[in-house]
Symmetry: C2
Subunit: 130 residues, 2 copies
Amino acid sequence: MEFCIDVTSRTPIYRQVADQIRAAIARGRLKPAARLPSVRDLSRQLVINPNTVSRVYSELERDGLLVTRHGLGVFVASPGSDLTKKSRRERLTTLLDACFTEAVLLGFTADEFAELFRERLAQFQWQRGT
Amino acid sequence: MEFCIDVTSRTPIYRQVADQIRAAIARGRLKPAARLPSVRDLSRQLVINPNTVSRVYSELERDGLLVTRHGLGVFVASPGSDLTKKSRRERLTTLLDACFTEAVLLGFTADEFAELFRERLAQFQWQRGT
DNA sequence: TCAACTGTATTAAATGACTTAGTACAGTTG
DNA sequence: CAACTGTACTAAGTCATTTAATACAGTTGA
């Protein structure tokens, strides 16, 4: 796995790294039980503080995406969402509505947006099952 | 227009207000040439500092959503995206891909997500033309 | 057992974002 | 001119982010 950060971005480093790991897991580039770089290794690789990496791993473990085993390392968790169907739906709806808002403001028509959606959906690697 | 803020949220106030205005414009609840509350009025209404409201208006003017007329007030700009087609597409693609990632991690199948997309698209008020 | 690797916890400090406060200036209107 | 508009500026406080340094605890293989 290759990670990269943009230190000039206003997005916090820990957020950039966390989002890259989330995307990698969603796309199946990081499979369940796969081992992530150690806190110290990743911090050296990205030239950031070990605490920052530790924070990323903690957040993703809290979200159920990673599992840490003390002394062994951090691993990709087995899939399985423990959120209720309702809250899962609400969460995705919020994100989706933000897309709609942005699409309108960018001048997209509903048809154009629907077309873009179909394109990206077909291209996306839908790896992680429930 | 009614705005509300959640002071307990970790989302900055200026971001909450800005997002509500963006959504209102996208949904057509704020139409072109409509006048927004004055900096001082909105700050009194939301019980926040006038500087914070001013920051919101400045950001939205920089993004081309609002136009300010000194001494008169702040108004909704006429639609018209001056971004290139390519950059508009890239921006929306980034947002969409974030939705895909979240959908997978939440355990949605591609079909389920596509169905949710259709539902929300039909429900969304697609007001602002180019 | 011990060295070398894992993750975790803690404190301290620097930087910058966010927000408020207060004041002052400039354009518009009746 | 009074009363409204937006803007600019300084100052201060709070909090998030990041780095630094150190210490502690679990796991592994020689």
